[in-house]
């Protein structure tokens, strides 16, 4: 009786997920194996040719590798910035806690398009940064900050920082303050306490933050499209181009699937390497 009620209660969510999540996924997967049509989305029969096209052209392979590199560097940089911030935010006696949280969450309060445009104003050849440096006489030619990988990484780091800070902060808040105190009483200096006790205990948060930021970076479209422009394209941008501009649904689907598999595989390996054997 109770079990039937539980199933009934789960039904709306299950239907919603099946219709709006599983079906589109299946469509993408099947599309990836269909032939392109002439004037129609799909032609006759199935093929592996779409994947052949990806893996036979250095352009697509290189682009995927660059996308992965952008994801990896963005993850590493957000991690390095987030760690000290998260540890400070997790302190029980935090001055102006509300304000601090607000600042951390602020990137999420503005739409992603506006945020990315904001970065173009800062990073462009005639942008705030380059003009200031030129006015001060520090540079003759503008620094290449936009339309390249560096610009994309800078903007993505800003956008995804909260997704790294929040899980680490919550892991750190879960640490009993007497545990680092115990380490000190056993003779551990400040830095040793961080390295041997606090960081390992923050690991569950670090792990989920890294996975979140990496996956979000791989799949991000708006920021790379606006900052990278026509010069640097990530795989996600090319997928959208193929789907919308050049109307190559099967090829776009194959590219999307490739990115998903490679990205998913990377996440699995990462999770495996950072496996946590203990629990609190």
């Amino acid at each position: 009786m109770r079990q039937r009620t539980a199933i009934l209660l789960l039904l709306p969510a299950a239907i919603l997920l099946t219709v709006f999540l599983a079906v589109p996924y299946v469509t993408v997967i099947t599309s990836a194996f269909r032939t392109p049509g002439e004037g129609t989305p799909f032609g006759e029969g199935y093929t592996l040719g779409n994947f052949g096209r990806i893996f036979s052209q250095w352009y697509y392979i290189g682009q995927a590798l660059n996308t992965m590199l952008i994801g990896a560097i963005t993850t590493l940089v957000t991690l390095l910035i987030a760690l000290p911030v998260a540890f400070q935010l997790a302190r029980p006696k935090l001055f102006l806690r509300g304000l601090a949280y607000g600042i951390v969450l602020s990137p999420l309060l503005v739409g992603i398009v506006i945020r990315s445009y904001g970065w173009t104003i800062l990073l462009g050849n005639n942008g705030v940064i380059n003009r200031t440096l030129r006015d001060w006489g520090l540079i003759d030619h503008p620094l290449p900050l936009m339309y390249n990988t560096l610009g994309i990484i800078i903007a993505l780091t800003h956008v995804f920082l909260p997704f790294m800070i929040l899980p680490i902060m919550s892991a750190v808040q879960g640490i009993d303050p007497s545990v680092p105190a115990a380490a000190r009483s056993l003779g551990a200096k400040r830095f040793t306490v961080i390295r041997r006790v606090l960081l390992p205990l923050a690991m569950p948060g670090i792990q989920s933050g890294c996975i979140l930021v990496f996956v979000l970076s791989l799949s991000s479209y708006v920021t790379p499209a606006l900052i990278g422009g026509f010069r640097v394209k990530t795989t996600a941008v090319t997928v959208v181009d193929a789907m919308l501009d050049t109307f190559q649904w099967p090829f776009g689907a194959a590219l999307a699937l490739t990115l998903a598999v490679v990205g998913g595989g990377t996440v699995l390996i990462f999770a495996r390497l950072t496996r946590i054997k203990w629990k609190t």
């Binding site: 007497s178 105190a181 000190r184 009483s185 056993l186 003779g187 551990a188 205990l201 203990w278």
Partner: protein, 350 residues
């Protein structure tokens, strides 16, 4: 073996009255000392200052004459056991114990030997590879004690270590900790609000109220010769009887229920308070030829021991705790007698 001295030790959190107010205490080497008191009495703050986790506002802490106030916690060479154990959840039992030795740059083989020996001492050698989350509360407790002792610290500090254990295990751990402490011979400071724990384990009990030491002494001294009514009441049930020392016989006092001989003379005519433990009273049948008559108002039967509330003719009441020799019911008339040596006396009205 280290002698610990506190000299005028004070802790003031800005804007508050002192949490610890100029306490002085000498803990002889190798002794087991309990800081006993209600929550907020400053006992934990005192322990934290000893450990180096809390700055000292004024006063001195010395270990064997060496002032340690400015020595940071990590260099004080202290073994600390926390109330919630504070084990490293990401390390196995072995790694938890090895941590302090690694900090002391001791060789791998030596670490292994010492951890093994300590694990045997706390009876956990079969669980060396478990993580703390896989252990019971009592086992975690013993890991915490082992981790504190394996570094062979100068002193051992325990902060209400038994508070989170169930009653039966608490009894076991009391005996275990005390036996271990005697075997190792380490100077130990134990913080607790449980008077039974302090009484059964300690060489010296320090009763603290409001940031000051109310009394320090052997458990029997604290119990039988309390310096104030508050101390008397904190370490056990007590009857406080107002009395007046007789003018012509200063070794006798007048009480509401009769004249009582004192084991010592007092100031004639002075108002005093007699301290009488409920179990020091002997209960007799109404037809016994001796004793002060009283009536049973209520009783609480708990098998081996019965707690009575008795009322005298003038309406004053007294708690009595005895091993029942004969059946007494509520409403019965009884007679009481007390060996005069069982009285303790406080100046004034307590």
């Amino acid at each position: 073996m280290t002698e610990v001295r506190l000299d005028g030790l004070t802790k003031i959190y800005s804007g508050h009255k002192p949490a610890v107010d100029a306490i002085s205490l000498t803990i002889p080497s190798g002794q087991f000392v309990s800081l006993l008191g209600p929550s907020g009495c400053g006992k934990t703050t005192t322990l934290k200052m000893l450990a180096g986790f809390e700055d000292v506002s004024s006063g001195a802490i010395t270990f064997d004459g060496q002032d340690v106030v400015r020595v940071p916690a990590e260099d004080r060479d202290i073994g600390m056991v926390f109330q919630n154990y504070a084990l490293f959840p990401h390390m196995t039992v072995f790694q938890n114990l090895a941590f302090g030795l690694e900090m002391r740059k001791i060789g791998k083989a030596e670490i292994k030997r010492r951890v093994q020996a300590t694990l045997e001492m706390v009876q956990l050698d079969h669980l060396a590879d478990r993580y703390p989350a896989q252990l019971s509360g009592g086992q975690q407790q013993r890991v915490a004690i082992g981790r504190a002792l394996v570094i062979e610290p100068r002193i051992l500090l325990l902060d209400e270590p038994l508070a989170n254990l169930d009653a039966k295990l608490r009894e076991e751990m009391r005996v275990f900790i005390r036996a271990l402490q005697k075997r190792v011979g380490i100077t130990t400071v134990y913080v607790t609000h449980d008077q039974a724990e302090a009484m059964t384990m300690s060489d010296l009990v320090v009763v603290m109220f409001d940031g000051t030491i109310a009394q320090a002494g052997a458990p029997s001294e604290i119990y039988e010769q309390p310096r104030s009514a508050t101390v008397a009441g904190f370490v056990g049930q007590v009857n406080l009887i107002p009395a007046v020392v007789e003018a012509h016989r200063p070794d006798h006092v007048d009480t509401p229920f009769g004249e009582i001989p004192l084991p010592f003379p007092a100031q004639p005519g002075a108002k005093v308070t007699l301290v009488l433990r409920p179990e020091a009273v002997d209960l007799h049948r109404a037809d016994a030829g001796q004793g002060v008559p009283a009536k049973v108002i209520s009783l609480q039967y708990s098998g081996a021991i019965v707690d009575y509330v008795l009322e005298f003719a003038d309406g004053t009441r007294m708690d009595v705790k005895t091993i029942p020799r004969h059946r007494v019911m509520v409403g019965d008339e009884v007679r009481l007698s007390v060996d005069p040596s069982r009285f303790w006396m406080l100046d004034g009205e307590g």
